[in-house]
Homo-oligomer: 382 residues x 2
């Protein structure tokens, strides 16, 4: 397997795109990423399109072919990929494999989603599973994790709330984020209760959005751009019904990140900046522990110390994360990678982590019952 | 890229599986293919699951993770793939790339679909396209192709009907096919009209079903089985809005098959048996021409000559094809490959083409307007 670089990125703001179709959103970021890469559409050998909800909401299929056609990409192989919240990073993993294997020299990944529509069915993932039929839906499942984490490790409700406060503060620096006004711990705690201890401000909002990256064999990337970023590791693991002995930890995070660290020849101490899947406040804290930013059970205290804020030792979710940007499902994990590329290029604007050289994107996909199905870890380096 | 073999296959009958869930159908064929391969589930390095309609019909996601979990496969990467009618062969193409690249030594592909349900939305593919909003749905689009083929090349309604008659005759030999009673040209012509000249017996029926294959690097396949079959070529091309100057031909067939022939070092004259995507009677005739079984415009006459019947020079759809088996969308293209493996192993029972050494599976995915989105050609050899 050969070395692979990211040579171009594109992204929309996350929020309401009422008058823009899914295909238009995807086409727009594809064109932006191709321009950013300094290539022509005809140089792209394969397209990987990630989406979760188009079939459910719009009864639409083969969306990727239409998205890439808008960007002048036809004829070459196109695949439509779904893996819940990791749809985007699963498409990225396949595109990376395609280029790393030598099958393709240049590949494009687009993740796009429209959720701000009537009759939304997002919470249907895993809907035929017994536990979801019995009422265990995603916020409830994560609330149970939060309660267990508090009972087991002494994590506090205030620490949970501080995740939302930190990410909103970061979002204030990111013009593409959906919710940018600062919030306080008190506001998070006093927001309407969704599933105790998770209030409305503890749960990521819906959004429409799209993001794209262009991958290229490292041997050729300098031909096109001097701003390429290397993919040091791209890992996907599955974790159905895993680790039932401790629901307050995610074994999939540990497995995916340890494989990624090994492949990259790096460890958690080498990371300069991280984007992780903060679908709920508790998620970010558990991810800290899973990817090794701190020992098991210390996530709440790590957060409270300020280490994961911009300016801290290891900033997490400098973009504002899902909690402030919103979560256009299949766009989310591609957007994490776009943020990583911008950080490593020094182009992250007010969200910039000075001198960032190593970036990790962590993403996790759960079914309707909150059971982890898929976990991805991508490490970028320059 | 290294050589890849198929070492195991599994398949259900195609028809009504009212009391079996999608996950159960998929799990069943996964287990059958693993047993057939002579391996343990823990030896599988990645799973590729193809489905088109679960999100639309059941609002269900990450189905592949649940399917593979039923077969004892967890932890390793799992991907959910959709590419309309080529969903199964697109998953196969990705799995082949994964093994050929050295990323995985053994990978499994499952295609599964449940369509025999109320409120079916199958014809929604491409539903946001202008032409479909204006009423151009799949049978209409294929009827227009049939009329153009008749006007341009002298193909007759009787020749179209003979495709259905031939494939039904083949299905009579296949205990897994849905419709097995012989039909006559008159019965096809006199069946209720769907879109002139396509009657109900000219259009493939719905079905539930699932099929699986296990892929293994050729270097290791002999460890597990003496009945492996080599993948001589696996090709996927995209063809959105292509070839508008002649709607009675499919350029995607030509492009995919010519790439596949070149990679395999073979030509159409080397094929012993073919499964092609006979979603409508006209489809099979156009595919003959696209993959080079006869010159442009000669498909109807090739069919009428008997060359593509069992016992003829180049039998096509010995399994009964979509027209008689039914079309459980994402299972279809995997089932074609399963049929090919059985043919090359000499295990195809009454459908056997004696001494078959080279097999081609051709599949094509169209959107709701009948516009071709994706075309796959896989050549197997032993």
């Amino acid at each position: 397997m050969r070395s692979v670089d990211i040579i171009g990125v594109g992204i929309t703001n996350f929020g309401k795109h009422i008058e823009t179709s899914l295909v238009e959103l995807g086409g727009r970021v594809a064109i932006e990423a191709i321009k950013d890469a300094g290539i022509k559409p005809s140089q792209i050998n394969a397209g990987f399109f990630a989406n979760m909800q188009a079939a459910n909401i719009f009864t639409d299929f083969t969306v990727g072919q239409n998205v890439f056609w808008q960007a002048g990409i036809n004829s070459v192989p196109v695949f439509n990929i779904e893996n819940a919240c990791t749809s985007g990073s699963s498409a990225f993993n396949l595109a990376w494999m395609g280029v790393a294997s030598g099958m393709y020299d240049i590949a494009i990944v687009v993740g796009a989603e429209k959720l701000v529509v009537p009759n939304l069915g997002l919470m249907q993932a895993g809907s035929t599973e017994l536990d979801t039929l019995e009422g265990l839906v995603v916020p409830n499942a994560f609330a149970m994790r939060a309660n267990l984490h508090m009972a087991t490790y002494g994590t506090t409700k205030e620490q949970l709330a501080m995740v939302a406060v930190k990410n909103r503060r970061h979002a204030g620096l990111n013009p593409l984020a959906q919710f940018r006004s600062p919030i306080t711990v008190e506001e998070v705690l006093n927001a309407p209760m969704i599933a105790d201890p998770l209030t409305r401000l503890s749960c990521c909002p819906n959004a429409d959005g799209a993001a794209a990256v262009v991958l290229c064999a490292s041997d050729y990337s300098r031909q096109y751009t001097s701003r390429s970023v290397n993919v040091a590791a791209s890992v996907l693991v599955t974790g159905s019904y895993e680790n039932p002995c401790n629901m307050a930890q995610w074994d999939a995070d540990r497995r995916a990140s340890s494989i990624a660290y090994e492949r990259a020849g790096l460890g958690p101490q080498d990371l300069d900046v991280v984007e992780c899947h903060d679908a709920f406040t508790i998620s970010e804290i558990v991810h800290y522990e899973g990817i090794g930013l701190c020992p098991e059970g210390e996530g709440g205290r790590l957060l409270e110390s300020g280490a994961t804020s911009l300016g801290g030792k290891i900033p997490v979710n400098p973009s504002g994360g899902l909690l402030s940007k919103g979560h256009p499902v299949a766009a989310t994990a591609v957007a994490q990678i776009v943020e990583g590329v911008r950080q490593l290029r020094g182009e992250a604007g007010a969200c910039q982590v000075e001198g960032a050289k190593v970036f990790m994107a962590e993403c996790m996909g759960a079914d309707k019952a909150g059971d982890i199905k898929s976990c991805t870890v991508n490490i970028l380096q320059n």
